[in-house]
Symmetry: C3
Subunit: 382 residues, 3 copies
């Protein structure tokens, strides 16, 4: 009587998910970390379920819907709730709307159940907190078997604030072009992508700091700054390349992003609530590269990942004095990993991250702070 | 070893759900709204997943259980968790217990995936916040094929506070009688319903204001008022009628409710937490009517909805001066919608709501405030 | 494109769950209670969905994963998110990692859908708040058909803090040995278990109170106490016995635990957030016994449960004066229940708990306080 009588065909329903049980040991207690979030005060070792996913997909062929939640000891939260459909004439033009991954670069949308490193790069965690956002995108992706099948274009608008109620009126544009090629006579694959982000966030105070020279920030305190849009603009390029050697498959993936990111005095993270602080405009750059080598026919693979994120390109280590903050410090991370694919569902991973900040004359950052993390993980994917 | 070994028969399990991706544009930033909740400060446009439902039904014929959650960027919350069973002798008497829709009127229990307007009327959002409540009801519904198959009676007790821990000792009675008829020789259908609500909430201060005349509220400040029950009493009538014309199916649904509703000085909404404010007793009335017209054999339908809610019947526009508040203002809404049923799962809806408050001598409400909303929605139901 | 392509075989996916709709009447309003949580101010009767479980199991034979959530009007929370696998050579050694039940005693891991009493004993609710914790355990359990099939050993490490982020560095060891026997010629069964817990929590103030004699607590206020580990150490024994008499199956289950538990001045509950209060070291003991009698071939069974928890063994009723608090009071509960197994899914339960505190010279506890609870429950399990 008015209840949803689902016209569901049960063969179209797919339940999937994955669980990641994790033990971590940090080099010092209570550290800030991008390896699964900061450690609590006095804590340098912890058990956690990093991800506990339950994903419901209804796939009707040309259209589908996804609801995915994440259940961990941090709470039960939404991951995805979106609708996808593709027109049936050319099978090329699609629309995807709802809470979904932001289509910028490669690592954002690459599933955490397939990524070798337990977490995304510092770069992406800073710019795209939580990866997801509410929005709608157009997808132009000719069918794989067509001549243009190597090509995929995505362009859409999003709140920009992530999976919370939007806190300002700016809707952010994200565009991404990706091409993928495969060898016909040799076992290689190549992917190339370019991404663009153009958005902003409302300035809620009159104090707007612009990094104009490497001497520091210049303050503009015009009353009219209130309500102005602080620009977010990112330019990204990414590459994925693989070759199936006789000694095991080799893969390399790399990504570079540069642009402008508004923030507060102490952080360039995209805010998770309405920003009430004064606005600091910085130009940033960041990148990562990961190299993955399967060890012959064994179920083992080793991988090395390097990433860096420099929130403020215009000032270097020597210039970083007390007029700056931790929000201006460049970090780089070397990660060393070993994965054992125990069976089709279970993967054991050991991963050590050596995190280095630049050494400055800013107190607290005159030396490399202790913030390395060892992660031991079991993942079950189904 | 002690874990629930589910005696489940997998053919009895049904997963269903729906996702509503929504873009909205308000006529002014930061407005209060019943069109999916108020807009954040400075915000007049937003993307949101309004509803992201995952519903698990176990249906064993004469008994069933439902657990339904809603995953959106606002959080993951319960929608339903109830048990239903019907005796097998007459197949007429049933019991439903748990968190479920309140059986009052038609729109409360009518699924959001089938309702044409994106939201329920202001009337229902005010009286039955979140629609659901914890309780138990008896259902008397003779089988469809019996002579009394047109008849359905539901009567039960509920906390009255919605899907939170109950904040007082009053359990609220809700009763509803509904009859449904169909034409045998002509394609018409008719439903008629009557509903009754008798409950209350505890007064937690000694100050009790009664609207005795159109001059305003009379204060009773007896110490003994603390702990008294402020009456909630609603009387409702509803009608649903349809006719399948050659130019497309026409449908009209309408509902009227009047009664007494306790509230605070500024609101007549049923509180979502223990009410600590002084109690204001008001007599209210409200109604809606929606007309839906399918456009021939096309997948399009147009619909018009009108609703009003007058929280305080005893005072009219002229009388509304500074001794009253926004909690006494009458609102009416005209909504104009177009729906396109793209396929069996996807519906596109465009809906514009023109919201009018009465014009009073109360400051802030001397004119119609700007609070209209345009909604563009894609729904996927499965 | 990078999304989890689930290698899932749908026949391996199992959805199960249960819903418990509950009405309760307390002997006094606003009481503290272990019968589903305290009653809100002024409230002595309530409807609630005590548990609304949705459990997703992927079972690939030698390995499996579970994600289980609980949806009630209190929120949607994680219950389980773990990975289990057993080596395939001896089919004896297994590992289970993630958020899971703590393997201590019998009642902790015994499913709430099978337990006759609506809640676990006060003892377990105090020591193992929420039952679950994040950790990893080794399981040695020879296959049922082997000579050692009666034997099961579990040993693992856990955060110790329950399903929240760990608030200190101590990882707690839990070990459990359980044996189970069945009659070959007579319909009896017997289970015997022994459990050990060795863990602790960080002391965050310098004030450490030790219960050294029955005169009261002795204060140690050395600065060096900060950062020391306050010991949690539990020793437990449990028995389960059953005999299928001609007049119906009889079952008895009992458990006893003693040990040391750190707490605050007013409570010995394992804290659900970083403990900032001074530390009180107490020796406790507690136990329960439940007797369940099926009534012949009828779907009815009666049961009686007794439990007690004495948080501070070293002081008795006479000694409990104003130098102690409610955190030192011994409670015992007699519970009387009747269950009606309506069908394979539905069970009706009526359960009355008579809760008695010891009578002391501490104000508020000079007499038995009124805190009895009647519970009427419908459960649907699937």
């Amino acid at each position: 009587q008015g209840q949803a009588e689902a016209p569901a065909d049960s063969s179209r329903i797919k339940l999937s998910g994955y669980v990641q049980a994790l033990f971590q040991k940090a080099s010092a207690p209570g550290i800030e970390s991008f390896s699964g979030g900061g450690f609590e005060e006095n804590v340098d070792q912890r058990f956690t379920v990093r991800r506990g996913r339950m994903k419901l997909t209804y796939d009707a062929g040309s259209s589908s819907a996804v609801v995915q939640i994440d259940a961990t000891e941090q709470g039960v939260i939404i991951r995805d709730a979106y609708i996808h459909f593709t027109e049936e004439k050319w099978n090329t033009f699609g629309l995807q709307a709802g809470v979904q991954n932001r289509a910028f670069g490669h690592e954002v949308a690459y599933s955490s159940s397939r990524r070798e490193s337990p977490e995304r790069s510092r770069l992406f965690q800073t710019l795209f907190s939580g990866e997801r956002d509410a929005g709608a995108k157009l997808i132009i992706a000719p069918p794989a078997e067509s001549q243009l099948g190597f090509f995929r274009l995505e362009a859409g608008f999003y709140n920009g604030s992530g999976t919370i109620s939007d806190y300002d009126n700016n809707k952010d544009f994200i565009g991404r072009l990706h091409t993928a090629f495969e060898g016909r006579t040799a076992p290689w694959s190549l992917g190339l992508g370019a991404s663009f982000y153009s958005g902003g966030q409302r300035q809620n105070t009159r104090y707007s700091y612009e990094m104009t020279s490497d001497d520091g920030f210049t303050l503009d305190s015009a009353e009219s700054n209130i309500g102005q849009t602080a620009k977010r603009r990112y330019y990204g390029a990414d590459i994925q390349a693989g070759y199936d050697f006789s000694f095991g498959n080799s893969e390399i993936r790399a990504e570079y992003i540069t642009g402008k990111q508004p923030g507060s005095s102490t952080s360039s993270r995209t805010p998770r609530s309405r920003p009430e602080e004064d606005t600091y405009h910085r130009e940033f750059e960041g990148a990562y590269a990961i190299f993955v080598q399967e060890l012959g026919k064994s179920p083992l693979e080793v991988f090395i990942k390097y990433d860096f994120y420099d929130p403020n390109k215009k000032v270097n280590s020597n210039g970083l004095d007390e007029s700056f903050t931790e929000g201006d410090i460049r970090f780089q991370t070397w990660g060393y990993g070993l994965a054992w694919k125990y069976d089709e569902h279970i993967t054991f991973t050991a991963y050590y991250e050596d995190v280095k900040n630049e050494q400055t004359t800013l107190s607290g950052f005159t030396e490399d702070i202790s913030d390395n993390v060892l992660s031991l993980r079991i993942q079950y994917r189904f």
